[in-house]
Symmetry: C2
Subunit: 115 residues, 2 copies
């Protein structure tokens, strides 16, 4: 046995678990968008999150809901109205997302300097 026995297992790694929740192309953006505009309506998200398609928006919201990150509140009205908010647990993600936003700005600044 060597002195350094650290193991980083993709199955058990907590970082990977987090990536599976907020990873992918849209999840983090959506969490941020809902955090900023809460309560956020479906159509509102579709307009503010530029480039996302309806089907992607639906599926990503559903996954976030299943993971306990967001609440989905349906109003029995015509026309339909659905509001999304972060759950209490979802709110614990916001510091991470905000840190990521801050870091992303630094990164872009660095990239711009490199040229």
């Amino acid at each position: 046995m060597n002195e350094n026995n650290l193991v980083f297992n993709e199955k058990t790694c907590p970082v990977t678990a987090t990536m599976q929740v907020i990873g992918g192309k849209w999840k983090a953006i959506l969490i941020n968008a809902i955090y900023q505009t809460s309560p956020a309506r479906f159509g509102e998200l579709k307009r503010s999150v530029t480039g996302i398609t309806q089907s992607m928006l639906t599926s990503q919201l559903r996954e976030l809901e299943d993971d306990g990150i967001i609440n989905r509140k349906v109003y029995a009205e015509i026309p339909p109205k659905v509001e999304y908010t972060l759950t209490e647990f979802g709110l614990t993600l916001s510091p991470i997302i905000l840190s990521m936003a801050e870091w992303g700005r630094k990164y872009k600044f660095n990239q711009a300097q490199k040229k």
Copy 2:
């Protein structure tokens, strides 16, 4: 114009920029692994990051290097020896990764309770 003009653009979103650096299946794990065992040798990473293949390890390390996150130090020896460390800039990612690890543990705990 409505009162709420926030836009979350996939091209300019700083959160997306960060995701492109630490996203994917292995990047965050690798950053964490190098952070914990620095300086980390190639073979050492291959052993500790269970499940990763050589080609993936090589390509992911190369991308992290190109993004300015890690340093690659080659020793002109036989047998070859390469050491990876986080750059100063890469170190600014560690609080984020650590937060993600902490959050991932909470998430797993929640999931376990749900059953």
